[in-house]
C-alpha cells in the first residue's frame, strides 16, 4: 500500500503563466504548501484575493512531523472551513503519565475547561493536516475562487522590489518568472526565500538529537501520553509515546549529541530500541523514522516590505509543547485580514508592521516556553540535572512538585497586551478577554460564539443593544447582541465578570480590540480606526 505521503496530491501542470510573453503579475503569491502556506492561501481566497501557491514538491509532509493541534489552531481551521475534518479524524486524549527511571512518578488528567466547541488538543498526523487543507482548496476552486496550487515549482530566485517581487520558478518544463504584489514566504525553517534576500535567522541550537518514529501497533495500546525521563531502555535520555489516528504511535527517543545519524536511522538499529521500549512481545510496523536536532530561533523582522514571512520560515521552535504549526496558523490568522485591508486601500501599509509586532511577541513567548521545556527534558549541566531529578523524585511523593515537571507545556495563543491596535479597556471586566486577547469561545444554545463571530469585525453586545450592522471607515461591521438565555454562565464568566453588561469590538482574527460597559457608536468608530492602523 502506498502511504498517503508518497502520493502526489498536486502534481505539476503547465500553467498559462509559462507561455506568457512577460512575467504575469499576481496580487498574492505564497511560497510553500506546508500547513502554513496552505492556510494563508485559503484565507486569502476566502477573502476573494486571487492567490498562487508554489511548492517544489507535490505531496503532503514526508512522515507525520507535527501531531498535536491545539484548540486555537482548530478554531482558526474552523474559520478556514477545515476544523471538522481535523476533529473527526483526530485522537482526543486527556490522560498523561510521567515515568522516571523504571517508576511511574505520577499521572495527570488535562481536564479541559468546559464550554468550548473545540478540545484543548487533538493528535493528528501532519500529512492529514495538509491533506484536509488541500481538499479545502479543491472545494474553494469548485466554488470558483481563484486559488492555484502549483506543484513541481521550485522557487530559485526572489527579487524584492519597491511595490512587488519578481520570482523565478523552475519546473519540469523549464524556468519562468512571475511577479507578486505581495509575496508570502512559507517555505519552512530552511527558507530559501530568507536566504535569497540575505536575511538573518538567529537563536539557539540544542546540542541533542532525537529519533522520531511512527509505528503502527498491531494490538491495542492506551490513548495516553507517556513521557519517560531517564528510562531503562534509553539511559540518561528521555522518551515519549503518543497516539495518533489509524493505530499509529509517535515515539520520540532522545539520542544525545555525538551519534552517527545515518546509522541510528537504520531499521536494524531502530527496531531493537523500540522493542526494548514497548516490550519484546508487542508487534509493530515502522511507518516513518527520522532524526532531528532542535532549534529555537526567529527572524529579526517578519515583514520586509512586500515580502512577508509566516510559519517556520519566520520562527522555529523545538517541538516540546507543539508550538510550530500551531503558532504558524496564528501568524496567518493575524496577517490575512490586515493584508486584505491594505490591498483594498482601507488601511495604511503600516498596519502590516503590527503583524510583525504582534507575532514577534508571540514567537518570543513560544521560544521561551519551548526552550524551558527543552532545558528540563535535556539538562545540559550537572547542576541542572540534579534539580531536574529532584523535581521528579519529589513529584512521586508530593503534589507541589508536579507543576514543575516540564515535558512540554500546552500551546496557548498569545495575548497581544502591548499592541498599538488595542483600544479602550474596562478593567472591571474579566482579564481573560482584555484587549489583545483571543476571544474565548462560549456555547450559545446549539451554536458557539466563535462560530458566530466568523471573520468579520464584530460588535458584540452582552445585555446591551447593538445594531445588526454598522459601517465605518469603509468597513462593514457585524452586530451580535446576546440577551436572556444566551447570557449563560460561560458568557458571564468570560465576558462580564461582575458587570451587568458589556460591548466588545472584535477583530477578524477573533482577538478583542476594545471593550466598554455601554454602547456608543462613536466609541466603536474610533476604536475601529485605531485597529485598522489609522493612528499608527
Amino acid at each position: 500500500m502506498t502511504k498517503l505521503f508518497e502520493t502526489p496530491l498536486y502534481p505539476y501542470q503547465l500553467s498559462a503563466d509559462q507561455k506568457a510573453d512577460a512575467p504575469v503579475r499576481h496580487p498574492a503569491v505564497v511560497i510553500g504548501a506546508g500547513p502554513i502556506g496552505l492556510a494563508v492561501a485559503i484565507d486569502l481566497a476566502q477573502h476573494d484575493v486571487p492567490v498562487v501557491i508554489l511548492d517544489e514538491n507535490d505531496k503532503v509532509s514526508w512522515g507525520s512531523r507535527a501531531i498535536c493541534f491545539s484548540k486555537r489552531a482548530l478554531e482558526i481551521l474552523d474559520r478556514l472551513g477545515a476544523g471538522d475534518d481535523y476533529v473527526n479524524k483526530g485522537v482526543l486524549w486527556n490522560l498523561g503519565k510521567v515515568f522516571f527511571g523504571d517508576r511511574k512518578v505520577y499521572e495527570f488528567n488535562l481536564l479541559p475547561e468546559d464550554g468550548h466547541n473545540r478540545p484543548a488538543f487533538i493528535n493528528l498526523q501532519q500529512y492529514y493536516c495538509e491533506l484536509y487543507l488541500v481538499e479545502r482548496i479543491r472545494a474553494l476552486q469548485a466554488e470558483g475562487k481563484q486559488i492555484d496550487i502549483r506543484g513541481g515549482s521550485k522557487v530559485t530566485a526572489v527579487e524584492a522590489r519597491d511595490d512587488h517581487s519578481r520570482i523565478s520558478v523552475e519546473t519540469p518544463d523549464g524556468p519562468y518568472d512571475l511577479e507578486a504584489d505581495w509575496l508570502i514566504a512559507c517555505d519552512g525553517a530552511a527558507s530559501p526565500t530568507r536566504k535569497m534576500l540575505g536575511l538573518d535567522f538567529v537563536g539557539r541550537v540544542f546540542e541533542d538529537n532525537f529519533l522520531i518514529a511512527d509505528v503502527i501497533m498491531k494490538a491495542d495500546f492506551p490513548t495516553e501520553r507517556w513521557f519517560w525521563f531517564d528510562p531503562p531502555f534509553n539511559k540518561g535520555q528521555s522518551a515519549l509515546l503518543h497516539k495518533q489516528p489509524d493505530g499509529v504511535w509517535r515515539i520520540d527517543l532522545q539520542l544525545g549529541w555525538d551519534i552517527d545519524k545515518e546509522e541510528e536511522k537504520k531499521p536494524e538499529n531502530v527496531i531493537p530500541r523500540l522493542k526494548q521500549m514497548l516490550g519484546e512481545e508487542v508487534e509493530f510496523d515502522l511507518e516513518w523514522v527520522s532524526i532531528y536536532t532542535f532549534q529555537c530561533r526567529r527572524m529579526e523582522k517578519f515583514r520586509h516590505g512586500r515580502v512577508i514571512f509566516a510559519g517556520d520560515s519566520a520562527h522555529q521552535v523545538s517541538p516540546f509543547g507543539a508550538r510550530g504549526a500551531n503558532s504558524g496558523f496564528q501568524d496567518t490568522d493575524n496577517l490575512v485580514w490586515k493584508l486584505k485591508l491594505v490591498m483594498d486601500g482601507l488601511a495604511p501599509e503600516s498596519l502590516l508592521d503590527t503583524y510583525d509586532e504582534e507575532r514577534i511577541h508571540a514567537a518570543d513567548e513560544n521560544i521561551l516556553n519551548s526552550s524551558r521545556s527543552t532545558d528540563f527534558i535535556t539538562p545540559k549541566s550537572e547542576q541542572s540535572r540534579i534539580f531536574r531529578d529532584a523535581v521528579l523524585d519529589l513529584a512521586e511523593h508530593h503534589a507541589f512538585a508536579r507543576p514543575l515537571v516540564n515535558s512540554g507545556r500546552l500551546s496557548l495563543p498569545a495575548t497581544y497586551d502591548c499592541s498599538r491596535l488595542n483600544g479602550a479597556d474596562v478593567t472591571s471586566l474579566p482579564a481573560r478577554t482584555r484587549p489583545g486577547s483571543p476571544a474565548a469561545d462560549c456555547p450559545l444554545g446549539e451554536d458557539w460564539l466563535l462560530h458566530k463571530l466568523g471573520d468579520d469585525f464584530v460588535v458584540l453586545g452582552i445585555n446591551r443593544d447593538v445594531p445588526d450592522s454598522l459601517s465605518a471607515h469603509g468597513i462593514s461591521l457585524k452586530g451580535l447582541s446576546l440577551k436572556g438565555g444566551d447570557v449563560n454562565p460561560f458568557v458571564k464568566d468570560r465576558y462580564l465578570g461582575n458587570e451587568d453588561g458589556a460591548v466588545y469590538l472584535i477583530r477578524p482574527d477573533q482577538h478583542v480590540a476594545a471593550r466598554w460597559t455601554t454602547y456608543d457608536e462613536a466609541d466603536i468608530v474610533s476604536a475601529l480606526g485605531r485597529v485598522i492602523g489609522k493612528e499608527l
Binding site: D389, A390, V391, D393
Partner: protein, 64 residues
C-alpha cells in the same frame, strides 16, 4: 513582601544541627540531591516569585 534577611529562625542552632544530621553519612551525589529537593520544598513554602528572586540574589552574595 520582600525577602527577610534579618534573623528569623526561632532556634538557629537546632536548625543547623538538623541540617547537618540530614546530610550525615550521605555520598556527595546523595547530598547534592537532598539539597536540591530541600531548595524546592522550601521554595514552595515561600511561593512568591518576587521574594524568591530576592532570595536568589541574597544567596549569590551579589551587591546590587
Amino acid at each position: 513582601m520582600s525577602a527577610n534577611l534579618k534573623p528569623n529562625l526561632a532556634r538557629p542552632d537546632d536548625f543547623y544541627a538538623d541540617l547537618l544530621a540530614a546530610h550525615e553519612g550521605l555520598s556527595k551525589a546523595d547530598s547534592d540531591a537532598l539539597n536540591a529537593r530541600l531548595i524546592l520544598v522550601l521554595a514552595n513554602q515561600i511561593g512568591d516569585n518576587e521574594v524568591l528572586r530576592e532570595c536568589l540574589k541574597a544567596a549569590s552574595l551579589s551587591s546590587e
